[in-house]
């Protein structure tokens, strides 16, 4: 039917105009306007519900997207801040260590050289540190090495720009020492288990008590006198033996040493007064 489309158009226009006409204000309460509303309101409710659902879904999706983006950004930010915080803590710690080392360097009445730990040997056979100072810096073999807490060990190998330090808890380490309180003489030796012990002549325990500070004796001229080594943690009273043994808690945590002072000159003075752990 060639005119079908025009018939449709006219029908639609008539219906539209009819709808419009029925809504002219001033009609009676139950007039055509109400009649139209009777049809349109349910549709309006339906449309509004559909609209709200669609909008709600869309809003939820948008919120979810925003939250996800925000979450990702916050994660990145938190990660960055955590790294920065760790870096700041590290720098603060290093700063504190260097300050204490510098203060000690200035206090001591002998020439020192600061060094940075560049290597660690922590196996059972050998316990040593390598520092970035060597022959070219004037470091010699058997140079005493200290930190603000006390004695670390001695240089056993010197290279052009590095030196290997034998730690006090190395099984081959032996340092002449005294009980600071009683001046009882002995040797501080490294134990294979990683600890440090004080070996002394066992005449009635030589008056060694738990808590006593053991310092270098200066005998032999290798180490200056008075460098703190450790505190007595236990006394093994072997009456029948020639020697007595006392377990020591080292004043230095060897695993955490990162900067050291190398004593490149000698001093006959007792250095005990210069250490805080005295």
């Amino acid at each position: 039917m060639p005119y079908r489309k025009y018939v449709l158009l006219v029908s639609v226009l008539v219906v539209s105009l009819l709808l419009l006409t029925l809504q002219i204000p001033g009609q009676a309460a139950w007039g055509p306007g109400e009649f139209v509303s009777w049809f349109t309101i349910p549709a309006q409710v339906l449309v509004t519900k559909a609209h709200r659902s669609a909008l709600g879904l869309w809003s939820t999706y948008r919120s979810w997207q925003e939250l996800r983006a925000e979450n990702r950004a916050l994660h990145t930010e938190a990660e960055r801040l955590r790294v920065e915080s760790l870096q700041a803590a590290e720098i603060r710690e290093e700063n504190s260590r260097l300050r204490r080392l510098l203060a000690l360097k200035e206090r001591l009445p002998l020439e020192t050289l600061s060094g940075e730990v560049i290597g660690k040997e922590w196996g059972g056979w050998v316990r040593s540190l390598t520092v970035n100072r060597g022959r070219n810096d004037g470091v010699g073999r058997l140079t005493a090495v200290i930190v603000p807490g006390g004695l670390v060990g001695r240089v056993v190998t010197v290279r052009a720009n590095a030196a290997v330090i034998q730690l006090l808890n190395d099984p081959a380490s032996s340092v002449g020492a005294v009980v600071q309180r009683t001046r009882a003489q002995g040797l501080v030796e490294g134990a294979p288990g990683g600890g440090v012990r004080f070996k002394f002549l066992a005449r009635a325990s030589a008056g060694v008590q738990v808590g006593d500070l053991i310092v270098t004796s200066g005998v032999g001229g290798l180490f200056p006198r008075g460098l703190p080594v450790g505190r007595v943690s236990a006394v093994e009273d072997r009456v029948s033996g020639l020697f007595g043994y006392a377990g020591l808690a080292p004043v230095v945590d060897f695993s955490r040493v990162e900067e050291v002072l190398l004593l490149v000159s000698q001093s006959a003075a007792d250095l005990g007064a210069h250490f805080a752990s005295r």
Binding site: L9, L17, L20, V47, A54, W58
Partner: protein, 160 residues
């Protein structure tokens, strides 16, 4: 096919009140039912264009709570007109589609304004033209071009 068409028309009507606020740029929103009507009119002819314009316009009227029938009438005319014109132009040409959509929006806006004058619609024509009809026509053209490009791209992919 008819169900798809019905769903498209209903969806288009709903989209105006749900999706259009999201697409709002300043005070301007696209007229999604009109874009859909033009799309259907161009592809399916004047009858489908007329019916879809009437249906989407009616949904818009009902949803907006204004004069029920006003947009149904103008959009039905727009859909019918576009459907009739499709034989006269190369409707596959995107330029024709976009320009046609802009002109169609302008024509529909003017017609709607004229119709609402019968009900003492208070706004000035110049203001309506400047702040509502013209910006919406341009926005519709933009959306229409985006849709056209997207459809072309999808068609090209399908033919690969």
């Amino acid at each position: 096919m008819r169900l798809t068409l019905a769903l498209m028309i209903f969806g288009g009507g709903i989209a105006q009140s749900s999706l259009a606020p999201v697409l709002q740029v300043g005070p301007v929103t696209p007229d999604i039912p009109l874009i859909l009507t033009a799309f259907l009119g161009l592809r399916k002819g004047p009858e489908v264009g007329c019916l879809s314009g009437f249906a989407t316009g009616l949904i818009q009227d009902v949803a907006s709570g204004t004069f029920v029938g006003a947009q149904a009438l103008t959009k039905a005319l727009a859909g019918f007109g576009v459907g009739l014109l499709r034989g006269w132009f190369s409707v596959e040409n995107p330029v024709v589609q976009v320009a046609g959509l802009v002109l169609l929006t302008l024509a529909e806006g003017i017609l709607r304004f004229a119709l609402l004058q019968l009900f003492h619609f208070p706004a000035e024509f110049a203001e309506m033209m400047l702040y509502v009809i013209l910006p919406q026509a341009l926005y519709n053209g933009f959306i229409g071009s985006a849709v056209t490009l997207a459809l072309d791209w999808a068609r090209a992919r399908r033919s690969l």
